[in-house]
């Protein structure tokens, strides 16, 4: 229900950060999240950083998924036909 996007912190001015996603920059307030550093990825919702993105967790999830992918032969699923 809530659009929130991982953005990288590129500047911090007190409780206001400038964050970037895909080259787009905008402001994100840090009132709800402590210890944010430049270079961190944060999840931004409605102009506020809600949480830091844990890079190690992300890598672990992907590593696990890629390992699973390597076990299964690259079988292309037959095309889904949507809910119609």
């Amino acid at each position: 229900m809530c659009i929130a996007v991982p953005c990288q912190v590129v500047e911090i001015h007190g409780s206001l950060a400038i964050v970037e996603v895909g080259g787009i920059r905008r402001e994100a307030w840090l009132d709800l999240l402590g210890g944010v550093k430049i270079g961190d990825y944060v999840i931004v919702h409605a102009g506020y950083a809600l949480e830091k993105l844990d890079a190690r967790e992300a890598e672990e999830t992907l590593h696990l998924l890629r390992e699973m992918a390597d076990e299964v032969p690259d079988k292309v699923p037959s095309e889904g036909d949507g809910e119609r």
Binding site: M1, I3, E20, V21, G22, I24, R26, E79, G82
Partner: protein
Amino acid sequence: MEEKRILLSHGSGGLMTRELIEQHLLRQFENPMLSLLNDQAVFPSPSSRLAFTTDSYVIDPIFFPGGDIGRLAVCGTVNDLAMSGAVPLYLSCSLIIEEGFCFSDLEKIIISMKDACLEAGVKIVTGDTKVVNRGGLDKIFINTAGVGSLQDGLHISGHHAQAGDKIIVSGFLGDHEIAILSKRKNLGFITHVVSDSAPLNLVVAPLIQHGLGQYLHAMRDPTRGGLATILNEIAGQSQIGVVIEEDLVPIRDEVKGACEIMGFDPLYLANEGKLVAFVDREKADEILSVIKKTRYGQEARVIGEAVAEPKGVVHLRTAIGGTRILDVLSTEQLPRIC
């Protein structure tokens, strides 16, 4: 010194109107037909078939990264002509200006129109100027109409797409709308994306010169409503189905990023310098390579194809291999939290 501004009497039809036309419009748009200052332009018919179109331009803000309302007013009408394969020749230009509008801004817009006309190879041959009370409109509205000559043997129409056609887009989608939105203060995001506003006859003319015109079945420029909307229009008009591949649609990271933040879908964003063409599949590679050599078609690519069934429906094959409907834009996109 106080800035010179448009007054109601500049639209009165009297001396001040004449001054506005002669010193500002004629000076930039100078050409023999316009200089006669008649109520109409008279010219010999350049071909047995003509293309004719009109469009009004009411954009906010009037100056934006990559262009302004003037460039838009020329390119938009040129593009509507070019989508039939016509060679755009003559434009009309009607300015409706709000009382109090700065002459310096008007001058910028007029110069921008002149530059766009030079680039597109068209002339403004007739026009009109009106001034309305302050608050009667927002700064300036422009209407342009255009005439183009159509070579025999060209029958490009939204009704002529065929099952089997390949679908080509001429470059990155969504740049124009994102550039405009980035200037709206309440959205407060910063981007380097600029409007793609461009005359597409520079993309179409080489195709016709290469004898590929007959293989262009349907063409349209995805302005308001974006790619999704015009694909649906053509699918309906031509009674074909359309399948495009999500992965193949060219969209810049900046545009994707802005869409992620706002909750927009880039396939519905407006463009002002892109075309979508349904072309004969046998000639698709050749057409693509000609488009890619043009200034405004370097990022062109094939994004999908027309199919026989289901008629009138556009399907999108998603990056993970799923399929879904790609519907028309039903209401304007607004920045959302959810």
